[in-house]
Subunit: 341 residues, 2 copies
DNA sequence: TACATTTGGTTAATCGATTAAACAAATATA
DNA sequence: TATATTTGTTTAATCGATTAACCAAATGTA
């Protein structure tokens, strides 16, 4: 009972014309008569014809598929970026294939293999936390396949990149906390090998120094920034002889963990310790107290990433200049750091 | 500078053997000498050979790709299901392609087209809220492609299905609320045309009747169950002459909206109004008060869905019995409904 | 009328990997 | 020695759609 799929040949046989004619009719070729075109369309519909993508992609050397790699899908930032990538690409005849690395380097490599294997026309990716070795990304480029990175990118890799200004974001945050009267600001950051986290850390350090605040080593912690990491690091900060009066966390998820710990210890927020997250995940507006955070303009990032891809495949002229687009971030001040309201 | 991709032919030319020999060597065919095999592997590595999936899939009529359609990716339930599907399928040589319908029927249809177009070997899907017309899913079956539905499925459609017992879950919840002394229980549900929401509603109604509680029409509301919907419906419930003393919301996201409204109105939870969600999203353990909810066993659902797919493609014998697996749900009692603690 | 152009197709090669069938050489068997 | 089997490989067809090259008939042009 396994129905065989209809092919161009089936249609050709029924109409007693060549498969070439059918193929051209489908594409609206001007050398095919309207009568034939209509007949082809009618029969195609009757037989529920669906073009075999494998065959046409093989022949044309173009799949019209774009691969997207994200560290996680259950983050609003990434799913929002994906949505806007999809919107732009769909309009231009491309479909996207989403894969997620789950923050694992090994998984990321296997994702890249899957996508290359599927003969995607390009890859738009944000790197896993774990990723240090970039040779797998080089592999993409060495195949001549367009690669665009966003958010978690790398300076070293010579590819197009879309992100926000992480360094400046840290300045915004530190300055805001200082304006609230805070004097001992800690930072729960990501690992430095990831460019964005390194930039946030550099921004934090430079801002702290600029305003002559204490920059004790114990106030700067690195982690994977999961909610659990946020809990751990916050506990660590509370255990200090001289704990901070404000904590800037480089991810909303980790900030959530930190928030829980503060509440469990009955520490008043923001009076006793102010808290700032990063990413403007929806839950930051929902927790009590609402969480101050940074809006990363996910829609814009997705849109730009997709457009950059289209630029790359459209213009074949070799002297394409590298695109590094850095968006300005926006500080959203909420209750967790707003003393003066 | 666009590097041409290496093909079997390139390797064959270098070694002065036929492409057939190379192909067989790659597959470890016993009729190819070890010497040739080693030579092929060496050259393949040197040239950074990557098999052309389009070609082999076209020839073999099998892509080893499985499509997954979820309503949203930024829900922990769905991303967790995806992860466990992936785990099982990867082990068996399949890769998955994730698409999301964003709860839109139109998008869902286009996803199905994309996946069929990509020649996936099977589709595992959870339907969009909007979906009423099932003809598009019939299309999958009519192509002879295995289809497995999970969570949001349909009884009418004659396909394999994995889900939890929604009807019983409603009973668990209502009984728990009654045990807390609640007497006027409202339900913010999904639309009835979706089977799971219909089952939750039926369960709610039957349980209410069973214990002789008031079953006013105004206490039963249907919506899309977004956070915003939750807010709206909660406001509606509060505006009643005789508001409920407990609200059972068929989704954690909508429950979150309801929670916000209750807090904004300084209504004490659970004393004044108890609140129960559905899905055990991570944030339910993070909000204040923590939210009572239903654990849907996402890992198990994903695992079973993947295994069902493997069963379907493995055994070609026609008399495959239909698999409908219904898991028992678990009530997780937290602060939002726990008066007696 | 004679030649050029347009119209509406057809033929055959091609994309890259796979595989059934064929085949020559080496080895085993009787 | 004669025949059968095994080993290692090649030849050629195939998956389905696309497309360059070709061709015959119809129409246009001088």
């Amino acid at each position: 009972m396994a129905k065989k799929k209809t092919t161009l040949k089936d249609i050709a046989n029924i109409l007693n014309i060549s498969t070439a004619a059918v193929s051209k009719a489908m594409q609206g070729n001007s050398r095919i008569s309207d009568r034939t075109k209509q007949a082809v369309k009618r029969v195609a519909k009757e037989l529920n014809y669906q073009p075999n993508h494998l065959a046409s992609a093989l022949r044309k050397g173009k799949s019209n598929l774009v691969g997207v790699i994200v560290p996680r899908t259950n983050s609003n930032f990434f799913s929002s970026v994906i949505q806007s990538i999809e919107e732009v690409l769909n309009k231009n005849g491309y479909q996207i294939i989403i894969t997620h690395s789950n923050e694992s380097y090994k998984k990321e490599c296997s994702n890249i293999d899957t996508l290359l294997f599927t003969q995607v026309d390009g890859i738009i990716a944000s790197m896993a936390n774990e990723t240090v070795d970039l040779s797998y990304f080089e592999k993409i480029k060495s195949k001549g396949i367009p690669l665009i990175l966003f958010d978690r990118g790398e300076n070293d890799l010579n590819v197009d990149y879309i992100g926000i200004n992480d360094y400046d974001s840290s300045h915004l945050i530190v300055e805001h906390l200082i304006a609230q009267g805070k004097k001992r600001i800690a930072h729960i950051g990501g690992y430095r090998h990831t460019r964005i986290f390194n930039n946030r850390i550099r921004g934090y350090i430079d801002a702290i120094k600029k305003y002559n605040l204490p920059s004790d080593k114990e106030l700067l912690l690195e982690s994977n920034l999961t909610t659990e990491d946020g809990r751990e690091k916050m506990i660590q900060l509370l255990a200090l002889k001289n704990p901070p009066d404000a904590v800037y966390v480089a991810s909303d998820y980790a900030a959530l963990g930190a928030l829980q710990v503060l509440q469990e210890n009955n520490i008043s927020i923001p009076e006793n310790i102010a808290l700032v997250g990063f990413g403007n995940e929806p839950f930051t507006a929902m927790v009590t107290p609402t969480l101050t955070t940074i809006n990363q303009h996910s829609d814009e990032i997705g849109k730009l990433a997709a457009e950059t891809f289209l630029d790359l495949v459209e213009k074949t002229d070799l002297k394409q200049s590298l695109n590094k687009k850095i968006l300005k971030a926006e500080l959203i001040i909420r209750d967790s750091s707003n003393i003066l309201k």
